[in-house]
Symmetry: none
Subunit: 304 residues, 2 copies
């Protein structure tokens, strides 16, 4: 056996600390002092320089290096980064997140933020999970082939509708959004076969939107509904139904999770449509970006 056994630490990514404490007894006294420091506070050890650690262990740098070799590292820097990684892994997840629940009355801002982020992110993920790619495909198809696209939405869903319209418009599709029911109805009456009407309503019960979608359908347009409730009234007037998966908690986030979920679906549709003709879409996007350039300050990078 050569002087330093150098126990393999390579194929045990999770247990450096365990590894070290395991062979602690086999180390020389001075190395043991180093090992104990390292094991008791890996994160702290990672922060220290070799001289620093040696001093703390009341020994010399040379011994620290020997210790590194003894536990299978090439040198001190490697030990350091391994320790940092190890220490980072063992922080437990912030379980204070009140999963889906209401914010407790006494909550501080940090808790509120964590809870909201968790719920918002989950709404996005779950929505994507339950989205039916086949339906999306059909909708994308219809939009790509459409002569014209109308997007309807009232109240909060109106923002989403408007956003969708703008996105489609930016890649050269002819799309409209109407903040007002009467105008929307007028427009719907002018739709025809091959056109597409998209109705967005979280609850699926917004009569204005349903009415407009119904009109569009009567004129022969392909109708699409985006709602959180797969059996809501709006689905009855839609050829294709896309659903979100936001479990809205009473007043908590004022329907923000549902907004994010809707936008995620819109994002998917948009990218799907854009992917159909990448070069044209990209060129259109570049052109529109160029158009607002003069309204930007600090062309290159920002601030010195």
């Amino acid at each position: 056996m050569a002087k330093s056994p150098k126990i393999s630490a390579s194929h045990e990514p999770g247990g450096l600390i365990v590894h070290i404490s395991g062979l602690l007894p086999s180390l020389s006294p001075a190395e043991q002092r180093v090992a104990r420091l390292v094991v008791s506070d890996p994160a702290d050890a990672a922060r220290r320089t070799i001289t620093d650690l040696a001093t703390a262990a009341e020994t010399s740098e040379a011994t620290v290096i020997r210790f590194c070799r003894s536990v299978g590292m090439d040198g001190y820097p490697q030990l350091r980064i391994r320790l940092a990684a190890e220490a980072a892994r063992r922080v437990e997840p912030p379980d204070a997140r009140v999963v889906g629940g209401d914010i407790p009355p006494g909550a501080d801002l940090a808790q509120i933020i964590a809870t909201i982020a968790f719920n918002d992110a989950r709404a996005v993920e779950e929505t994507a999970e339950q989205l039916d790619p086949a339906v999306c495909e059909q909708v994308v198809e219809a939009i790509v082939a459409a002569g014209r696209i109308d997007v309807y939405g009232a109240g909060a869903s109106g923002f989403v509708a408007s956003d969708f319209q703008q996105k489609l418009h930016r890649i050269g599709r002819t799309a409209f959004y109407f903040p007002d029911v009467h105008t929307a109805l007028t427009s719907a009456a002018l739709l025809g076969r091959g056109d597409v009407a998209v109705g967005i309503s979280h609850t699926g019960t917004t009569s204005d939107v349903i009415e407009v979608l119904e009109q569009a359908r009567a004129r022969g347009a392909t109708t699409v509904a985006l709602t959180n409730f797969p059996r809501s009234p709006i689905t009855e007037v839609a050829d294709h139904v896309l659903t979100t998966a936001a479990r809205e908690t009473t007043y908590r986030s004022g329907a923000m999770a549902s907004r994010l979920a809707q936008l995620t679906v819109v994002d998917c549709l948009f990218v799907g449509v854009a992917a159909r003709n990448r070069t044209k879409a990209r060129k259109a996007l570049e052109a529109t970006a160029e158009a607002v350039r003069s309204h930007r300050v600090g062309a290159g990078r920002r601030r010195a």
Copy 2:
């Protein structure tokens, strides 16, 4: 030396990478090369020596050190350790999802959906992670105490601004949003001490929004900026800066991730404000919900 402001990296234990990508545009070209290497593979960067990394980024060691300072580290060893820790914490993104990358040309809808959902959800999570609760607190405080709140935003950020305005309005706060610069300027000119002006701009370079915020500040209002880039021009005219953490990929999602990130922040602020006076907020929300009831079909449960 006071040249590099050294943006605080201290309060965001989980988001070094996010932090760096936010600062990316504010870095010099050579530093950006380093930053991109670091962001694209933190674990690998942690393994490299400074000379090694400098070579890989086709620059000098000096620039790497400057980069370290720019992102708030003391020096290279500290960066290394933080990177190692970060990389360890980071869970491997599942399989084919092209993390932050562009959608591959041949991708089918299902892949597109998975990729988008992943990136969108991450934008939400990472934004929440790096949000400074202290700053949020101050902003909430200001909004609660405000005589009046103006929210500004152009283009895509305009939707967010408008959404925020509507939310505040619904819980009884006096809030305004203006789709037009001239009207916005006029309004800003009428703000005064105790009022709040919120400017939203993803890039932080939208001159219209900056101009209006500047005006508001000159009138004594408390100004708040919401942007993805902590050193962008808009931050210079803001008393409080809130940042999102969306790494926008070229044209891919047409800025949707940034939209979601912005909405998440808005959501947090909104809930923060609402939490200040739960009963009043809840009553206001109920009243507004009641107001649109007649525009809903199938009052109770949906469909037989």
